[in-house]
Symmetry: C2
Subunit: 450 residues, 2 copies
C-alpha cells in the first residue's frame, strides 16, 4: 500500500518536472517474480553473476543498502570471487554462497528459489545467454552493457522477455550522469526546441585497460588474453577480431531517451566508417614492457581506431556516434544535443540558447546544469557520494532496486537493450560492406508508434 | 632570374619549416599566360568577375597592393558595380572598365588582352562556367569556393585545365587561417603522430544571411530570391531545392592538406545523412517581419538542418564533415585532428599530446598555436591586419598573386577544386539513396600515387 502511494507520488513528481526517467511511458510488464515467493517486496535477494571489478562494485553498493541482500555470487575466477568475499568481511556481512565450478554453474544459482533478482556483470560473450536463462528462471534481471554479436541475440532477449514476462533492466549507468539528467530535464522542458541532431560516443583511451601485466588492472604492461588480468583477459580479443562500434550504449543511451526511442520514435538506419587501426599496435611496440620483439607486436588488430556511426531516426533526427578507444586522448562521451533553439556540447562544457545567450557566443553550461539539476540528484547526491563513476552507479543500482520494489517496469527495458545492443552488429555489417546503410529491426513490433 | 631565386629561397624555407602551403608537391603547370604578353611578371592586371560583397573585398585588397591593378570588373547588378566603383574613388584609383550588360558579358572581359588574371566571385551557379571560359581565354583563374552541382562539372574543370595549361587557383581562404596553418606546421612535424581521424565542417548560422529585407545584407528580414539582397538573392534557393553538404570546402580544405589528398592519398568514398529540415521555416515564422501568414512560411526547404558526411581516405583516415547552417549556434568549423600521439580540437580550443600533456587532461591549444605559428603569419600578420575573416583573406590573395608572379603552380589547384567540390553532388546522391556510400572519382587519373 505504502509502495503504491510512494509510486504515485513519484510519478506525479516526475511528471511535474517532466524529466523523471521512470516517467518515460512504455509497455506494461507482468508483476516481478518476487511476488510469487510471497517475500516482502521491500526486501530483495540479489545474486551477482560475475564478481570481477564491475561486479564487486555492485556488491559493495548493495551491501551498503538496508533493502537488499546478496546471498549468492558466481565467478569462475577464484581470485575475483575471493576479492568479492573480502567485501563481505569488510562490511561484517555473512558470506554468500559462491558458484563458479564451471562456465555454466550460474545455472545453479538461477535455480535457487530464494534469489529474486540477478545482476549480470560478466564478459560480453555471456551477457545475453545469462540474461535469457535468468528471465526463463523468473529472476528479475539487471544486465551490464556491451554491444551484441548478432541481431538474432537481440531478438532472443525480446522474445524471452515476452514469453516469460520477466522484466530486464539494462544497466546503462550514463543515463544517470548528473549533467545527462539535467539536460534530459532541459530537453523535456523544450529549452532546445525540437531536437534535430545529436552526438555521442565512447571516446576513452582504453589502451591501459586492454593491456596489463596480468596481475594489476591498469597501465601495467602489454599482455592480454590468457596472460592478461581483468578486462584485458577477454575484452581485448574483440579489438583483435571485430571492426565496429563495440561499445555504443554509454553514448546512445542518453540520446535515445532524449528523443523518445521506442516511445514514439525509432532508429531507422545506421552507417559506419572505420579508420585504420594503429593505436594498439603502437602501444605494444612503444611500451617499456613491450617492443618490436614482443609476441603481441605481431598481433593484427582489426578494430579501427575511430569508428564513426551515423543513425537516422524515424522522426528525422540525425545521430552521430564515435567509438574511439585505441588512441591517447582525454575521456569524453562527446555529447551534443541540438535543436531549433540551441545546443549543448559536452566537450567544451558550453551551451547556446537563442534569445538567452549573447548572439553567436557560447556560454558555460554549468549554471544551466545547476538550474536544471534533476530532482533525484538534488535529493540523493549525498547518498551517491563515493559510488562509482561520479555517483551515477548509485542512482543506477537504486533505480534497479526501487523499480522492482514498486512493481514498475524498468525505465531502461529489454526493448531499449535490444535496440542499443543492435548498433554493434549493424555497424560491423556496415563496415564490412564498405559503409552501406543497415536497417534497424523494430524490436517493439510496431508498438513504438503508440 | 630574381623570381627564380626568390622561388628557390621560398621553397627551401618552406621545406625547412615543413609546412609551407606552396611546398606541397603536385603536377607541373605550363607557365602562366602573362608571359606571352611580355608584361613584367611582377605586375598583374586582374579582372574581377562578380563585384558583390565578396568581390568588393577582393578589389579593396588588390587596390592596396602595388603589384596589381584591377582595370576591369564585371557585375550585372548595377548597385553592386557602383559600390565597387566607390572603392576606386576612395583609394584615388582610376575607374575600371565595367562589364555587366548581360549574364554573359563576362566573356567580353575575358577577351581583353591586357587582363592577365581573373578572380571569380559570383553566385555558385556561375563559378565553373566562368572558370572554364577563363582558362580557355588563357587567364590565370582564381575562383571562389562552393560545392559543385555535378561530377561532370568537376571533370570539365580538370579537362579544361589539362587542355589549356591554364592554372586555376581555388580560393579556399580557411587554408590560410592562422590556427589552421599552425596545426599544419604541427602535423608536418608529426606532433600528432600518424593521422587517423579528422573532423571539420561548416557550422555557421546563416539564417540572417539567407534572409534579409532586400536592402541590407544581414539579419534584416525574411525575404529571399528576387526580393532578397546579396546572398539572399541566390544562395537561399539552394536550401529550398537541394539536400546535401552544400558548402564543404572551408572544412575539407585544411583537412585535405593535412593528409596529402591528391599528393599520396585520395578520398575513396563518402556517405551522408541529413536531419530533418526545421530551422529556416521556424526563422520565417518567428521573425518580427515574418509570421505564419508570410508567403515564405509556405516554402518547403529540402536542406536538412544538419548534414553529416563521413569520408574514408585511401590511406585509412576517416573524416567527418558537418554542414549546419539553419539553426541558432555559435560559428565553428569544428576542426579535429587526431593521430597516434594526440589530438587538437577547435571547439574546446584544446590539445592533448601524449607524453607532453598531463595524462588524460586537455591543455589549452593557444600556447602550441603560438609556438608553431606559421612563418608566413609571423612575417605578414601586420600586413594582413584588417583584411577579411581575421586576416586570412590577405594571405589567400597574396598567395594568388605571388604564385603567379613566381610562375609557380597554385598551391590549391584544379585537382583540389574538383575533389573538394565533388563532395556536394556525392553527398546529395548519397542522401537521395538513403545514405549509400558513393565513390569519389580520381580526378588526378592516378597521379595522386606519386
Amino acid at each position: 500500500m505504502s509502495d503504491q502511494i510512494n509510486r504515485r507520488n513519484f510519478i506525479q513528481k516526475s511528471a511535474a518536472i517532466g524529466a523523471g526517467l521512470a516517467a518515460i511511458p512504455g509497455t506494461t510488464f507482468a508483476a516481478p517474480a518476487a511476488s510469487k515467493n510471497g517475500k516482502p517486496r521491500s526486501k530483495l535477494n540479489i545474486g551477482v553473476i560475475g564478481a570481477g571489478m564491475r561486479g564487486q562494485g555492485h556488491i559493495e553498493m548493495l551491501l551498503n543498502r538496508s533493502d537488499c541482500e546478496v546471498p549468492a555470487i558466481c565467478d569462475i575466477d577464484q581470485g575475483m570471487a575471493d576479492s568479492a568475499l573480502a567485501l563481505y568481511k569488510k562490511k561484517g556481512k555473512p558470506q554468500p554462497k559462491v558458484y563458479g565450478l564451471g562456465e555454466r554453474d550460474y545455472l545453479q544459482l538461477l535455480e535457487d528459489e530464494s534469489i529474486d533478482a540477478v545482476l549480470i556483470a560478466t564478459p560480453w560473450r555471456w551477457h545475453s545467454e545469462m540474461a535469457i536463462a535468468a528471465m526463463k528462471a523468473g529472476k528479475y534481471v539487471g544486465v551490464e552493457v556491451c554491444g551484441a554479436f548478432s541481431i538474432d541475440e537481440c531478438w532472443q532477449l525480446v522474445n524471452t522477455h515476452e514469453e516469460t514476462g520477466t522484466p530486464l533492466f539494462f544497466l546503462e549507468n550514463v543515463c544517470y550522469r548528473r549533467d545527462v539528467m539535467a539536460v534530459l530535464n532541459m530537453v523535456r522542458q523544450e529549452l532546445f526546441g525540437e531536437l534535430i541532431h545529436l552526438e555521442c560516443g565512447y571516446q576513452h583511451d582504453l589502451r591501459g585497460v586492454k593491456f596489463n601485466d596480468g596481475k594489476t588492472p591498469y597501465d601495467s604492461g602489454v599482455e592480454f588474453g590468457e596472460k592478461g588480468f581483468s578486462e584485458a583477459k577477454w575484452r581485448t580479443q574483440h579489438s583483435v577480431h571485430r571492426n565496429g562500434d563495440l561499445y555504443p550504449t554509454h553514448g546512445i543511451g542518453p540520446v535515445a531517451q532524449y528523443i523518445h526511442i521506442n516511445r514514439g520514435n525509432r532508429f531507422l538506419t545506421l552507417a559506419s566508417t572505420a579508420s585504420k587501426s594503429r593505436g594498439l599496435h603502437e602501444y605494444i611496440v612503444n611500451h617499456s614492457k613491450g617492443g618490436q620483439d614482443h609476441p603481441n607486436a605481431k598481433v593484427e588488430f582489426h578494430l579501427g581506431d575511430v569508428v564513426t556511426t551515423v543513425i537516422k531516426a524515424s522522426n528525422g533526427e540525425s545521430i552521430l556516434i564515435s567509438h574511439d578507444t585505441n588512441l591517447p586522448r582525454p575521456y569524453s562521451l562527446g555529447f551534443r544535443v541540438q535543436g531549433t533553439k540551441g545546443l549543448w556540447m559536452d566537450v567544451n562544457q558550453s551551451i547556446y540558447l537563442e534569445g538567452q545567450s549573447q548572439p553567436h557566443r557560447w556560454e558555460p553550461a554549468q549554471p544551466y546544469l545547476d538550474r536544471y539539476d534533476h530532482p533525484l540528484w538534488q535529493k540523493y547526491a549525498s547518498d551517491a557520494e563515493g559510488a562509482g563513476h561520479g555517483g551515477m552507479d548509485w542512482f543506477l543500482l537504486n533505480d534497479f532496486v526501487e523499480s522492482y520494489k514498486r512493481g514498475e517496469k524498468p525505465p531502461i527495458d529489454v526493448y531499449d537493450a535490444a535496440t542499443w545492443l543492435a548498433i554493434t552488429p549493424l555497424s560491423e555489417q556496415s563496415i564490412a560492406l564498405g559503409g552501406q546503410p543497415m536497417a534497424f529491426p523494430d524490436f517493439t513490433r510496431g508498438r513504438w508508434i503508440r
